[in-house]
């Protein structure tokens, strides 16, 4: 038996995710048993398998634990203001249409403060892949109630249990016009990777919600153990129902989680609709912005 001595950094650099991660910023800040790291691994794998040109892939995050994803991925990465990842990404995409733009942020960021932007981008079928990691809470700021916190769950601002009805995010996305809607948990690594890969190959507003454990806040405040116990819970309580009606996929507190691909349609994206319309109305006078973008140079 031969023994090879390597430093931690050398060994870590041989991890298959290393080409997609800013290894000079490892280890990351996420807690033990947090699910975000797993989702990032699956996304990196999907990027690799899809064969897209990574120089043209941009990632935009908001604020929060999931918002830190942009900081760790080795793509053109933007860590923007709270809730504004989607409009920021819209600007990026419209000003350089050849970019593949992914928004990677959390439930509070995208459906709370960012809710308005979420529904309008879905309505317009803006060509964005939105990966929303849902841990049912505002983790980074200490565990406050989120628009997705299930009824009766405790949080730091609902210390007696949540009485506000939460969003069903797949339903919200679908009703606003998203053309690809799926939900997985961070346990479903193969299916999640496949879903990401599929979504990367599609156009339009693609929305994948990933339920992930939050050990330090959600699990602790609700006495559910650690993220590991939550993973066990997903194992026993996740139901895969492809094509389920999004009106029936609400998540109750410690209740079943309906996963799967709910919507997979094709509809003209914002840019496609714009091109078609202007071409029809303006004919030869229409000069579209080229895919390389609106940068004017000598």
């Amino acid at each position: 038996m031969s023994t090879v001595i390597e430093t931690t950094e050398q060994l870590a650099d041989r991890h298959p995710i290393a080409p997609y991660l800013r290894m000079d910023r490892m280890p990351h800040i996420w807690c033990p048993t947090c699910g975000i790291g797993t989702v990032v691994r699956c996304y990196a794998k999907a990027l690799e398998e899809s064969g897209v040109d990574l120089d043209k892939a941009s990632i935009v995050s908001g604020i929060g634990c999931t918002g830190r994803v942009a900081g760790y991925m080795k793509l053109d990465a933007f860590h923007t203001t709270h809730g504004r990842a989607i409009p920021f990404a819209t600007g990026l995409k419209l000003a350089r249409p050849e970019l593949l733009v992914t928004v990677f942020s959390g439930d509070g960021d995208l459906s709370g403060i960012g809710g308005n932007h979420f529904i309008h981008a879905a309505r317009r079928n803006m060509d964005l892949l939105v990966i929303l990691v849902n841990n049912f809470i505002y983790g980074m700021t200490g565990g406050q109630n989120a628009p997705t916190t299930p009824l009766t769950a405790r949080s730091s601002t609902m210390p007696f249990g949540n009485f506000e009805r939460p969003f069903s995010l797949p339903h919200l996305a679908a009703s606003c016009g998203a053309t690809y809607v799926a939900r997985w948990t961070s346990l479903h690594i193969r299916r999640m990777t496949k879903s990401f890969k599929e979504a990367i190959g599609r156009k339009g507003f693609r929305f994948v919600e990933v339920i992930a454990p939050c050990s330090t806040l959600y699990a602790r405040l609700n006495k559910l153990g650690t993220g590991f116990d939550l993973m066990r819970f997903y194992h026993d309580n996740a139901e895969i129902r492809h094509g389920a009606d999004t009106r029936d996929v609400d998540i109750g507190f410690q209740d079943k989680i309906v996963c799967g691909k709910f919507i997979d349609e094709e509809r003209p994206t914002f840019l496609e609709a714009m091109h078609e319309h202007y071409t029809k109305i303006l004919g030869d006078r229409y000069v579209p912005m080229p895919p390389e973008g609106g940068w004017i140079h000598e």
Binding site: T8, R14, C31
Partner: protein
């Protein structure tokens, strides 16, 4: 593996053999890899890493089939599996060990 009847392509199908690499200093002891490895190759060790967590260790080294589940599920990118080259797989039931040291 027990077969009720030997498959017709038994000689052609090769079960992959994998080698697990563990970046113990990155491990945060979450236990996902141990719990979900389909071949039960790993257990939580009694060792401590510098941060005080128990990293996993390989106990059934010949059993790894390089399914990469540990690699995909680890939230800290502290474990991965790679395909063992054919002759190395045949030669040793125990793949070569890798000792990890910290930089400082």
């Amino acid at each position: 593996m027990k077969y009720w009847r030997k498959p017709l392509d038994f000689d052609q199908v090769k079960i992959p053999q994998g080698e697990v690499s563990i970046v113990s200093e990155r491990c945060k002891g979450c236990g996902f890899c141990v719990e979900y490895c389909p071949k039960d190759v790993l257990v939580m060790s009694e060792d401590f890493n510098k941060k005080g967590y128990h990293p996993p260790k390989v106990v059934k080294s010949g059993e790894c089939v390089n399914c990469n589940l540990c690699e995909m599920i680890c939230p800290d990118y502290a474990i991965f599996s790679s395909e063992l080259a054919d002759d190395a797989a045949n030669a040793a039931a125990q793949p070569g060990e890798r000792a990890e040291v910290s930089a400082s």
